[in-house]
């Protein structure tokens, strides 16, 4: 795991619990979530149609697409409810000095 792939997203207080922020980096969009047990990150675009998940609903460990209600597990990326059937890519997250970092491959 090389250090240079950890990208700083923002401070830990920039996300409310059970919510997310969008993070753009080099033409890619990510969503970073604060759940009850920590921070998580996924791709920021729904696998069903090209819609930003930043406007979606976070509930329990799930993110629901705002356009067609496809649901994904935030921790595993698993597509849980149609029309989404392709899993969402997830990324490792770490917190260091109240800053959130995600590891982009």
């Amino acid at each position: 795991m090389s250090e240079e792939n950890w990208i700083e997203v923002g401070s830990t207080d920039s996300i409310e619990e059970e919510d997310l922020i969008r993070f753009d980096h080099q033409d890619k969009t990510f969503c970073v979530y604060k759940l009850t047990d920590g921070f998580y990150a996924t791709d920021g675009i729904c696998t069903h149609e090209a819609v930003h998940l930043e406007d979606g609903l976070v509930m329990d460990d799930e993110i629901e697409c705002p356009m067609h209600q496809g649901i994904f597990n935030i921790k595993s990326g698993e597509a849980l409810s149609p029309p989404a059937c392709e899993d969402l890519k997830t990324y490792p997250v770490k917190v260091d000095n109240d800053k959130i970092f995600i590891k982009i491959d």
Binding site: E18, E49, V51, H52, E54, D55, G56, L57, E64, C65, P66, M67, H68, Q69, P82, P83
Partner: protein, 409 residues
């Protein structure tokens, strides 16, 4: 016990039912009989991304043939022309006979047709299935001025797609607003503005008197004597449940096949799901028939559970969407039973939602906004509706206050 389960209708409700049955019953034979020689596919993209060439035919299928094979679900392309409920048999046009222990009817719905002179029938196009979408896509590539009769979801989605293909589009609607059957006028007017901004012409309150073919083009005479010249005509004026096969049987019909909250029809071991079913909704305490993606899916799943012996009430709060230009319109619940309307938001860039309340509880809501802007709030609204929550109207009406505050209380 091993049963023969037959699913009549190879659409979305049918495939979701089949897979749900298999989840609960590993032994029974499951056979889907479909009229189209295609595995079940998604219809919403036909009027949008398929016409715009953003999605191809292979992107539309719900599941590959491998998935069906792995789950031991048979699919057969066959047209049934007689049903014998007493002896539990279906008869096909080619003399095949199918016996069932349990039958699911998921025949869907079909387009209402414009009444026209017979000699014009081949000139008018409708859009429901892939074949029709392919035809329209091919023909419009050589047309410029296209008229759409009917200002409902399908007509407006086609209008949006054709406008994006640089066509001149005219929409003629008989009612005094677009999408009048289920969308509140306040929202319909916002959508109408967007069509006009993109150059589409919207004509309301007009009926078609006559269509005349002239040198390969058409003249449409309206009831105010105005005349529209056009190269191509597409009609989307609603649909009716596909029940012709059952008209002279004991199956109870009334705007579709009447079912209870368990997807059961008036005949034992016969179930119905999706567009064809006029089902009892326990939350709204009334029967309704819905034509939507979410309903076809969830009702199919519910029927599948009940067929497999897992008694399950259908309680999904209705939800549907339409995408036109860069707008996403969503509706949840029902918007025709209310004593108060509350508006949230003022412009489509951030989303506008109208909530329909009765006794301080939400019965339904409808919103429209730039893609992504109303989905979260509409989803929370579905949950508030389902939970029969008495809502804080201040939070509903103020877009700066998050709606999930209401759900967490």
């Amino acid at each position: 016990m091993k049963n023969n389960i037959v699913i009549l209708g190879g659409g979305q409700a049918g495939i979701y039912a089949a897979r749900e049955i298999r989840q609960n019953d590993s032994k029974s034979n499951i056979k889907i009989l479909g009229e189209e020689n295609l595995l079940p596919y998604e219809r919403p993209p036909l009027s949008k991304d398929f016409l715009l060439d953003k999605k191809k035919e292979e992107d539309l299928y719900f599941h590959s043939s491998d998935v069906l094979k792995n789950e031991n679900i048979e699919f057969e392309n066959i047209s049934i022309n007689k049903v014998d409920f007493e002896n539990k048999k279906l008869f096909a046009k080619n003399d095949n006979v199918y016996s069932y222990d349990s039958l699911l009817i998921s025949t869907g719905s079909e387009n209402k047709k414009l009444t026209l002179d017979n000699n014009l029938k081949n000139d008018i196009y409708y859009l429901r299935n892939l074949e029709e979408a392919k035809k329209i896509k091919e023909i419009v590539s050589n047309k410029n001025k296209i008229t759409i009769i009917g200002g409902g979801f399908i007509g407006l989605e086609i209008a949006s797609s054709l406008s994006q293909l640089q066509k001149k589009v005219i929409v003629i609607e008989i009612g005094n607003q677009l999408m009048g059957r289920i969308i509140p006028k306040q929202i319909a007017d916002l959508v109408q503005n967007t069509h006009i901004e993109h150059g589409n012409e919207i004509i309301l309150n007009k009926q078609i008197e006559k269509i005349t073919k002239k040198n390969g083009d058409y003249e449409i005479l309206l009831n105010d004597n105005s005349l529209i010249e056009t190269d191509f005509i597409i009609v989307g004026i609603g649909s009716t449940p596909t029940v012709k096969l059952f008209e002279n049987t004991n199956l109870k019909l009334d705007n579709g096949i009447v079912t209870n909250q368990f997807c059961e029809t008036s005949i034992k071991d016969v179930f119905a799901a999706g567009d064809v079913s006029n089902f009892y909704h326990p939350f709204y305490e009334r029967n309704m028939r819905l034509e939507s993606y979410q309903h076809a899916q969830n009702h199919g799943i519910c029927a599948g559970k009940n067929i497999a012996g897992v008694k399950t009430e259908y309680t999904s709060i209705p939800w549907m969407w339409s995408d036109q230009f860069n707008l996403n319109l969503q509706l949840t619940g029902i918007c025709d039973e209310y004593d108060e309307i509350i508006k949230r938001g003022n412009d489509i860039n951030n989303g506008v939602i109208y909530f329909f309340l009765k006794n301080n509880k939400i019965r339904g809501a409808c919103g429209v906004g730039i893609i992504g802007k109303v989905g979260r709030d509409i989803r929370i609204t579905s949950k508030l509706t389902e939970k029969d929550t008495i809502v804080d109207k201040q939070i509903l009406s103020d877009q700066n206050l998050k709606l999930n505050k209401l759900i967490q209380k």
